[in-house]
Symmetry: C2
Subunit: 380 residues, 2 copies
């Protein structure tokens, strides 16, 4: 036996190689579709004169954030403080933390980040404001604070003008904090299947947000930023006249879940994210087993599907085990599939991305780039 | 703004600190329970004179594999070739790859591993045998091959004596390969809730395995190793007289799924794996939102539950979003929970572990160790 210290598995992909040399499982970006999605959202936001601040929780990659900023984004959103670190380290100059946090360790992280980037954060409780204010003052930094209002999701955010005003007052009472406006986000609306129904629900959420804006204005408080929205409602949010900024993330990738809802307007995202798999066992008639299971694709929003979909549904991803994906096979003899490579569309992009360390970016048959997923696993 | 290059988030935990200083989300091992689980399985295997080869796919950590070997394990199982690399690099001298693979890149990885450890692998198709044989011959290494037989799961493995004999012949035809025995594993049986019913199903699977062993023996072929079994059937597999080795993994941790099945015998694993969470928003009556969502806990086998369970069910983890866990609150005012730390029992340990980079190991109120999860994300 030879000394093995330092032994490491080979890389998934080498830039310049052909797709046929790809090791699986691998997380793929199909660059033509990705670039079309990237450009389209930037164009729609510019046309609407609404700031685009894409959500980096979807991609967790500096290379992608840089492309979003280059295409016109004013900065990015992050959902966790630790998630923001690689983006701040890479020089992203404006980050909105679109989520609440509590605890002196978290407030200290916010203050550290704010020394290096223009940071805004969300709150829905006066105790959060006090902690963040104290940490920012101690660090000698300024943090912009946007109270979150609950516009129908029933998760985070205050649900009355009185609570909102108490937050604004608390922010005003902290020298190191500045009131920056409001966040109103309704995650549930994003996934409504029928386009018209989704538009109505988005309008109701926007109107709820606008109601809070008006209540503040009636008291002489202007909201420099009103932020919210996601991929499913982006078009409606851009047209609402309520939001000054939108936060879509999944538009880059179009996962299976978003792919299954109706798109009727100017926004028609394309599938751009795939998990490449190999059939590694096909010992039974009617069954093929691939190497992509729960550790390579998230199944919380449904199982992945084989791409491109063939009309006969000859290959159906039917069950995910830890390291196995069980495919039902019709039309062909399963044994002929051994060694075949497949592209799977993940049901849900965010948690799927969070399972991988890199994107293998392909154009046609060529591996054009490998992008690190620096914020993978950074959930604090 | 200051230069931020190299900026990194603070560590989750510092050895020697108190639990109260823990940053969340964090993956916790409660060491007293973990050590009891570790010792108990080793003791039962020793008593039964069956080799224990625990499955490292459950923990993916060198520190844990070393403790298993120190407690008497003959080596470990891995489920993917890349997963085996950190264990081989750390000097684990015997690894069984309990899964099929195909493709010249994969065969080359097997050959590379076999230069540094005693490697056995599974096959269920002659084409796999040929590829592995060619790669091993090229590399000048020896690989032990165990055909997998399907003992009722209907996933991988051959389902007839004829197919099995064809595999054994193919192995014999490769100079660099050696026939090592059989693998018969039935994942579905592991989770049968009723103990007596699980025992019967395990006996049926063992009997199916034994049938293949007898068919080989009738042809003068001895199986040096007969491997299979998991945590749910370990006791029955040890008593079966069929298996020479067992492969349990989850016994170290007892996730929510295994915690919900009936344990009547000498094996009574304890919950030892938790995801620590903090309530970061509690703006609505009856609802508290914690910082552990889909990116910190796997939900494929059910949502996590709050630990310890209180009789009144005052806190019920009701929904997982990407970065949020929504808790239903009864008995107490939700707002009093803001900032509270909770321990969650994950529904399924394997994919939950695969979301984290380290275990924070606690004993009582003290953080005693931090163990890296070196094979996290290694799914090739």
């Amino acid at each position: 036996m030879h000394e093995a210290r330092g032994l490491k598995p080979p890389p998934a992909a080498v830039v310049g190689h052909s797709l046929s040399a790809l090791a699986t499982p691998a997380l793929l970006i199909e660059l033509d579709a990705f670039e079309a999605n990237l450009a389209r959202m930037a164009e729609l936001a510019e046309k609407a004169s609404v700031a685009l601040r894409p959500h980096a929780k979807a991609h967790k990659s500096v290379a992608i954030a840089e492309r979003q900023v280059a295409a016109g984004a004013v900065g990015i959103c992050c959902q966790k403080l630790s998630e923001a670190y690689p983006f701040v380290a890479a020089g992203i100059g404006s980050i909105h933390l679109s989520n609440e946090f509590i605890g002196p360790d978290k407030a200290a992280m916010a203050a550290e980040l704010a020394a290096h980037t223009r940071l805004s954060v969300c709150v829905d409780d006066v105790r959060q404001v006090q902690e963040i204010g104290a940490a920012a003052a101690r660090a000698g930094v300024r943090i912009v604070v946007l109270p979150e209002v609950d516009v129908g999701q029933g998760r985070c955010g205050v649900a009355s003008a009185d609570e909102l005003l108490a937050l604004v007052e608390a922010i005003d009472g902290q020298k190191a904090l500045r009131f920056g406006g409001l966040q109103g986000y309704h995650g549930g609306v994003q996934h409504i299947e029928a386009w018209a129904q989704r538009r109505e629900a988005a309008q109701r959420a926007a109107e709820a947000t606008a109601g809070y804006v008006r209540q503040l204005e009636a008291r002489g408080l202007r909201c420099p930023v009103v932020t919210g929205g996601g991929t499913g409602t982006a078009e409606f949010d851009l047209a609402s006249g309520v939001y000054t900024e939108i936060q879509p993330g999944s538009y880059l990738f179009l996962d299976g879940h978003y792919g299954a809802i109706e798109w009727q307007g100017a926004l028609q995202p394309l599938h751009a994210l795939f998990v490449a798999a190999t059939v590694m066992s096909a010992a039974r008639p009617g069954v093929a087993v691939c190497d992509v299971g729960l550790k390579s694709v998230a199944v919380d929003s449904g199982l992945p599907h084989v791409w491109p979909r063939d009309a006969e549904g000859a290959l159906n991803y039917a069950a995910a085990n830890d390291e196995h994906g069980v495919l039902e096979v019709s039309e062909v003899e399963s044994t002929t599939l051994l060694g075949e490579k497949l592209w799977l569309v993940p049901g849900h992009c965010d948690p799927t991305v969070n399972l991988h360390d890199a994107y293998v970016c392909v154009r046609g048959e060529r591996i054009e780039a490998v992008w690190a997923i620096e914020a993978r696993g950074l959930s604090r």
